[in-house]
Symmetry: C2
Subunit: 265 residues, 2 copies
């Protein structure tokens, strides 16, 4: 059995509320295998070996509360993100004698259990909603909002669930990725306002739109062997099979993440 | 349309993880009505007008994080429970200018929006997992674990999602209830250990078993017009249609809460 099987299993029913990489030693086809599942899921419980956080936002962390009760794993993220967790005693249910918290340096690769490597990189974005004071900076490049690059056998995957903009540095990072999972929160910036479901634009929430001259469709044009939208809000019409917007992103070479999608690097 | 329709809608798919009463001004049959839905749900989103907490345990509070983003409602519970929330900054996502927090006195009835009254009462239990220090007292009678009595038009409902024991005072309280929703976490105290899913007994978690000489089946015998088990762990065989244990509780006059169950008082 090869030790180099690396699989992403996505659970998109909750994609709009999920922006955390869960890495687990998994079972595949009923038998143990030596690789990983990297699972974007809030609420799923499995044999997690590591959870990598891209931020401290509720939709990135609340799923951890379902993993409580003495299941050992590595809980890793930036110092900012671990501080946000530390300020919430509820996460002490993840007992520190079984769940190891580890602050990761941005830009420094680290070895995950099993041999895959990962590296955090900053992405323009904002602090979590519950840490906003007044009007926050929505496109700051800090440890509060990062992406994750996973490398396995020379192949690279970039996981960017929240991006306010694509800077030149981010574009350069994504240029070397084979697979890109990217912020697909809203199709148009004022989508929630138009739908009457919220008062905020996507940009106010730290998310660039898909559409438009400064949208991700344009910004990531031509990159990667696969580009997949994740973190999709329930107002986003790309979720609707056969919609014009779904056609637009698919014509541009994008996939829309769906339940059970698995990616082998 | 009568203004006295009071309905409980239970969502049991998540019953084992839900122990909070959500009260909402609801829509019924497509039209507005003047009553309430009282909904035991974590994760559901609706026109909540009040959320009554029986404790600060994760399964009682985490669902609140799905209600964030400027939806106004009353968030009420004991001072102990509100303090537990207050120590978790994440709940500040429920902005204090739209979500009113109100500490309730135990044993003092209060008026809910619309005219229903409610009253908190202590139930033997323990502090939330994340507030445990060393070996906690598991059957303390404090504001950390309470039940809720709802009164409407002379009819009474008692909501007790967590009980370590039935004291004489609790029995007296339940004797006047028309409907009792009661802690059905485990059928037998060592069920999770036997199933290999955990190292704790039910009593260690602050939950009395259903079965046995000191179980709830015996302790609540003969009470109420309706007795319904809620907060049922996924190891509990009463969840299985046709199981001997399901037969036992049904023969004793109990119902097992199920998705979509509605109760009119």
């Amino acid at each position: 059995m090869p030790s180099t099987v690396h699989t992403l299993a996505l659970s998109s029913a909750i994609l709009s509320a999920a922006a955390t990489i869960f890495i687990r030693l998994g079972l595949r086809g009923g038998g143990a295998y030596a690789g990983f599942w990297i699972n974007i899921a809030v609420g799923a419980v499995g044999l997690w070996t590591a959870v990598l956080l891209t931020g401290g936002e509720i939709d990135q962390t609340a799923g951890l509360l379902n993993l409580r009760e003495r299941q050992p794993f590595l809980l890793a993220g930036t110092a900012e993100t671990l501080a946000a967790l530390g300020a919430n005693t509820m996460f002490d249910a993840l007992a520190r004698d079984v769940v190891t918290r580890r602050a990761l340096e941005i830009g420094k690769s680290f070895l995950l259990p099993g041999g895959t490597t990962a590296e955090l990189f900053t992405v323009p974005g904002k602090v979590p909603l519950y840490l906003e004071r007044g009007t926050p900076e929505t496109a700051a490049e800090t440890g509060a909002n990062v992406g994750i690059e996973i490398s396995a056998d020379g192949a690279r995957l970039c996981f960017v669930p929240g991006a306010a903009a694509v800077t030149q540095a981010l574009r350069t990072r994504l240029e070397r990725a084979d697979v890109i999972l990217f912020d697909g929160t809203l199709f148009t910036d004022d989508e929630m306002i138009v739908a009457g479901t919220g008062e905020k634009t996507g940009r106010r929430m730290g998310h660039m739109p898909i559409d438009g001259a400064d949208g991700s469709l344009q910004a990531l044009s031509g990159l990667g062997k696969r580009r997949i939208y994740i973190h999709i809000n329930n107002t986003n019409p790309i979720l609707i099979d056969g919609s014009a917007e779904r056609g637009r992103v698919e014509s541009a070479g994008w996939e829309v993440a769906a339940d059970g999608l698995e990616i082998s690097l």
